[in-house]
């Protein structure tokens, strides 16, 4: 089984982003970047499947500018066998990313695409489902357990109110929850080795992808803070009094 893993470079989850003063976007210059946490889970799962003998090759792919190759190096350090980047100077909308990934899947012919459920910058939660649609494949989103069984995948999904287990025919697209695994700690020698590995590059035009934006960004702002006036109460009795007599919620 060959696995394609999609990884995105995003602002590190510990960084609090700043909005540009003119409200035209988020300032990502000089901010710490990292692999999207859900994608780390996806890479980890792919590498584990190969280590268990269920997969023969793991290929990492990202769509982005030259700087985004950093996350491909991380994927290689995790243990991916190859890495490729679809070049795009501008960040693309999920639909365009899904088309680029579909074109890559067309070339690479994987049996499984593993990817995060959500990129923590745009928080769209779309690309995996869109990709499965373009390819005409089955999808299993929000996976917290994945197992190969008789040539198909059994995937436990995290859903509202519990869990649902699907059997999905291969090839398929699976998107990950953080619960799926605990990504390994990358050691320095693996990173050093990854730095020397080659990265293949592809152009959007070469893949025949029309990435024209569909949405127009009108501006960004910070959400209004909750109304000031938060009160520190000094005892449980005072708390219950406020909830009963001031807020009237109990």
């Amino acid at each position: 089984m060959k696995i394609l893993v999609a990884v995105k470079r995003v602002v590190d989850h510990n960084v609090r982003v700043r909005i540009r003063a003119d409200g035209t976007g988020v300032d990502t210059a000089n901010t710490r970047m990292a692999m999207n946490p859900f994608d780390e889970t996806a890479v980890e799962e792919a590498v584990r499947l190969r280590e268990a003998g269920d997969a023969s090759e793991v290929v990492a792919v990202t769509v982005g500018d030259a700087g985004s190759e950093e996350v491909l190096r991380t994927a290689l350090a995790f243990g991916a066998d190859r890495a490729l980047r679809v070049d795009s100077e501008a960040p693309l909308e999920p639909l365009a990313v899904s088309k680029a990934l579909a074109a890559v899947a067309g070339r690479e012919q994987p049996d499984l695409v593993l990817m995060g459920k959500q990129a923590i910058d745009d928080d769209s939660n779309q690309v995996g489902q869109m990709l499965a649609c373009h390819l005409g494949w089955g999808q299993a989103t929000f996976a917290c357990d994945v197992a190969l069984a008789d040539g198909e995948l059994h995937v436990v999904r995290e859903v509202d109110g519990g869990k649902r287990t699907l059997a999905v025919a291969l090839p398929a697209v699976v998107t990950t929850e953080l619960e799926l695994n605990e990504p390994r700690y990358i050691k320095l020698p693996s990173l050093m080795k990854a730095k020397r590995q080659a990265i293949e590059r592809l152009g959007l035009a070469e893949l025949g992808v029309d990435a024209t934006p569909r949405l127009e960004l009108l501006g960004v702002s910070e959400p209004l803070p909750r109304e000031a006036g938060g009160e520190r109460v000094d005892s449980v009795a005072a708390l219950v009094d406020r909830l009963r007599n001031e807020a009237g919620v109990i």
């Binding site: 982003v17 639909l95 649609c133 619960e179 009795a237 219950v240």
Partner: protein
């Protein structure tokens, strides 16, 4: 013409979130129709739409739809959208909507919008990203708009009488790409987290006091139980109780955060609650920044005390 709402239901009635999705859809202009997917029982659900202003309820019946398989359902809905010429498809954010709508949007070759928090007009939308720390205003001129809405940001429909007309959809093909093996429903006997009036949420900090204390408090208040990721990771509470941007977004009248530090991922999932109470032994915990009432205390003492105080009239 018109808007199609994918409405989730519990087999008897549409969810409160679905009702709010209907009112959000109304803001797009034009008549609002609803599609109800499920098995034979779905007919009965249509009656619960009385007074929501919905014109027509499509019943999409069959085993693959009842099993919530995204592939056949997205295909069937895309065909319906094309046949009826709908200009928008709306659903309340949920795991099913997040599974289904992007696939439907891809079928329709449209760039969808996730978790819309405000609809300014039929082409102008606001949504939150970067874990809720940024609000983005967007113009969408796609011929068919596809969006999930955060139900907690929209009011329920006013509710004036008439029931929708009911129409049955011919089942579409099932490509047979996936099948349902098992459903594990968490049945806590407590109210549904998404629509509960009161949520008692525990974080990693409830470990010392014990989950039993948290549950006792929730039962006292008739509340749903919520969890931070810390509590889920520590194995204290089940993952479907997780509140947060990447989990469930809630806005109850009262949200009690016990032993939760207040990371942005958690806060963006509950900051629209009516009244927020934080109980934490660390006076510097960021959760206090969003709390209406903050109590610096150890939960081993505060939780039993709170339960006892509630027993007094």
């Amino acid at each position: 013409m018109g808007v199609l709402v994918f409405a989730e239901h519990d087999g008897a009635a549409v969810t409160e979130a679905a009702r709010r999705a209907v009112s959000a859809a109304g803001a797009l202009g034009g008549p609002v129709d609803v599609v109800l997917a499920g098995g034979d029982g779905v007919e009965a659900v249509a009656a619960s739409l009385a007074g929501t202003g919905v014109s027509r309820a499509w019943l999409c019946q069959g085993a693959p739809y009842a099993d919530q398989l995204a592939e056949p359902l997205a295909g069937r809905l895309a065909a319906l959208v094309r046949a009826e010429g709908y200009e928008a498809v709306v659903a309340a954010t949920s795991t099913q909507a997040r599974d289904l709508l992007p696939r439907l949007a891809a079928e329709l070759d449209t760039q969808m919008l996730t978790d819309v928090t405000a609809i300014e007009d039929a082409e102008t939308f606001v949504r939150a990203n970067y874990a809720g720390s940024v609000l983005t205003r967007l113009r969408c001129r796609e011929p068919v708009k596809v969006l999930t809405v955060r139900a907690t940001n929209f009011a329920p429909p006013p509710g004036d009488g008439a029931s929708p007309a009911v129409a049955r959809l011919e089942p579409g093909p099932d490509p047979g790409l996936s099948r349902l093996l098992e459903v594990q429903a968490t049945d806590s006997g407590r109210p549904d987290l998404g629509s509960a009036r009161v949520v008692v949420a525990g974080g990693r900090g409830v470990a010392d006091a014990g989950v039993g204390e948290l549950e006792a408090l929730a039962d006292k208040l008739g509340a749903a139980i919520g969890a931070s990721r810390g509590a889920v990771e520590a194995g204290l509470l089940p993952s479907d109780a997780q509140v947060g941007l990447t989990a469930k977004v809630v806005a109850p009248d009262l949200y009690i955060a016990a032993g939760i530090s207040g990371s942005i991922y958690h806060v963006s999932g509950m900051r629209d609650s009516g009244v927020i109470v934080a109980i934490n032994k660390d006076p510097e915990a960021p959760i206090f920044e969003v709390a209406d009432y903050g109590l610096v205390a150890d939960l081993t003492e505060a939780l039993p005390q709170l339960r006892e105080a509630l027993e007094q009239p």
